[in-house]
């Protein structure tokens, strides 16, 4: 802690010695990078008067692994196991985007079944990420029952991932041209029964958390992002929909199997903490419906179209920006190829770059210190995609 002090000179007046007066303008606090209330390796430097924050400064960089630089030095296929490590809670979007970008540049077709399997994986990852989010948000408010429930339920999804891909977190399942292998036997049946369980469970979550008076009183009107502010700060994803703007990349510029699927874009109007949580809670049910449709419509056929020999695979000169809707917002990859075996530049556009720095600093100003973690968790900031 650093103190900014103003020392007033002691004055000698009429033989009296006046005592030194000190006045403290503000205290400087360092929240994070090792703090249970912070999402990942991330810090916030605060200036606070009493309990009120007068200035907040985001302090990223504790997890920088220079992936973008590393990807320039590796061949196209060598990057497939690397990209998923950029975002820890939702790694599959990276694999999907990297594959989509290369397919667009080279013109490799993806089989219809592979598109559906990719969408199933993305939606399962979305459910897992939302369960993680519910647990994290409840824990910041001191309600520790929901994290125990939701992290446990998330593990059922991870078990299915393990059966499908051989790994729980980093799947390395999608590759240019399709997916690595077909669904195992009875996978869709197991997934369907898990979805039915989750449908019942989310009702139980309502009773313990989403309908609780404590949660409503604590979160309504905290950290409000109104419509104009959301547009000004280029907010995307569920945070934008919580401010009342119905914009979803899956609906507006559909990719993979989303053109065949019917679903609603869910919005809330207030743009506060409560709306941001409730948008995700209602989307959770919508995603279960999407997964059920995907299981019903799953076509048969091949799951992978062969790409050229990877050791001298030269991708045509050009550039492309691809994007998907992740649980945190718009996730994009900008791939530039110069016609050689290695990419010239791969730029990862993570949603947290806009939400986690400028928007967070703006929202924290004027709030209490106890509101830092709830606001941060409600925005669903994922520092690994700032420090990629």
């Amino acid at each position: 802690m650093k103190q900014k002090t103003e020392q007033k000179k002691s004055l000698n007046q009429g033989g009296k010695n006046m005592t030194e007066e000190k006045s403290i303008d503000f205290f400087e606090y360092f929240i994070g990078p090792q703090h249970p209330g912070i999402t990942g390796n991330f810090g916030v430097i605060l200036n606070a008067v009493g309990d009120e924050i007068i200035k907040a400064q985001a302090n990223p960089g504790y997890l920088h692994r220079a992936f973008e630089k590393l990807m320039e030095q590796r061949m196209y296929l060598q990057n497939v196991p690397l990209v998923c490590r950029i975002c820890v809670p939702e790694p599959d979007v990276n694999e999907a985007l990297y594959s989509m970008a290369i397919e667009t540049l080279t013109g490799i077709e993806v089989p219809e079944r592979a598109k559906y399997i990719r969408t199933i994986v993305l939606e399962m990852a979305r459910l897992a990420a939302y369960l993680f989010y519910f647990g994290g948000t409840a824990a910041t408010l001191g309600l520790y029952t929901l994290p125990n429930w939701s992290f446990g339920d998330r593990d059922y999804i991870l078990d299915l991932f393990e059966e499908l891909t051989g790994a729980r977190i980093y799947h390395i399942y999608m590759q240019p041209g399709g997916v690595r292998r077909d669904l195992p036997k009875d996978f869709t049946k197991k997934l369907y029964s898990l979805l039915q369980t989750l449908k019942k469970r989310i009702k139980e979550y309502d009773g313990i958390f989403f309908d609780a008076a404590l949660f409503k009183k604590r979160t309504k009107g905290v950290g409000v992002i109104n419509k104009d502010m959301a547009i000004e700060y280029s907010v995307t994803g569920p945070n934008l929909r919580a401010s009342g703007i119905a914009y979803d990349i899956r609906k507006d510029t559909p990719y993979l199997a989303y053109p065949d699927i019917n679903f609603n874009v869910i919005t809330e109007n207030e743009g506060d903490f409560y709306s941001r949580v409730m948008v995700r809670r209602r989307e959770f049910e919508e995603d279960i419906k999407i997964l059920e449709q995907l299981i019903d419509k799953l076509p048969s056929g091949e799951v992978w179209n062969r790409y050229p020999m990877p050791l001298n695979w030269k991708v045509e000169k050009g550039d492309v920006y691809v994007k998907v809707e992740s649980t945190k917002g718009e996730y994009g990859y900008y791939v530039v190829s110069d016609g050689s075996e290695k990419p010239r530049r791969i730029h990862v556009r993570g949603p947290s770059m806009t939400h986690g720095i400028m928007l967070l600093e703006k929202l924290l100003k004027g709030q209490r210190i106890a509101d830092i973690s709830p606001i941060m968790f409600s925005l669903d900031i994922c520092p690994p995609d700032i420090d990629r």
């Binding site: 547009i231 400028m358 420090d387």
Partner: protein, 167 residues
């Protein structure tokens, strides 16, 4: 989308190329970037998606790509400018799009491009960095790691045979 591009061409007088996946690209001079982005914001490009810097070391240029998104017309526009690699200075757009400030901070740190007028080009990720900006193509990561973390070369010691030779 094509109608919108022709309308945009007529209004702003810009040479926009249509590409696949809801995309279009546009190349302007370095001096005109502020005016172009101001015009495009008036036309409804409200979302500043990202800012990319590409190091074309052979041509001695940095290419800056400003990604803008039009929500109603569903158009992703890539505005590209070329700047000199030896004197990389460009005017900021952080007062037109607020979030550009963060991206400019990152590009400044990783490529050494200076943004004139950005009020907050303070250190972002790197700490106590004395080398050339690390994302430039001529920054050798292997050399850096060798100098930074491996003080002595122990290759021979590690790979020499461990067994004793008996005559």
């Amino acid at each position: 989308m094509s109608d919108f591009i022709t309308r945009l061409k007529n209004i702003t007088g810009l040479n926009i190329h249509k590409e696949k996946l809801y995309q279009a690209s546009l190349k302007v001079d370095k001096e005109k970037i502020r005016k172009t982005l101001l015009d495009l914001k008036k036309e409804g490009f409200l979302q500043f998606t990202t800012l990319t810097c590409i190091d074309w070391i052979e041509e001695k240029t940095f290419q800056l790509v400003y990604h803008l998104w039009h929500r109603e017309e569903k158009l992703h526009l890539k505005v590209k400018i070329d700047i000199d690699r030896d004197a990389p200075i460009v005017e900021t757009v952080s007062d037109i799009y607020i979030v550009a400030q963060t991206y400019e901070r990152e590009v400044k740190e990783m490529f050494g491009v200076d943004f004139k007028g950005n009020k907050r080009l303070i250190p972002f990720i790197l700490e106590d960095w004395n080398e050339i900006p690390p994302m430039r193509r001529d920054f050798n990561t292997r050399e850096y790691v060798k100098d930074m973390y491996e003080t002595e070369d122990r290759t021979e010691e590690i790979f020499k045979p461990r067994w004793k030779k008996y005559d």
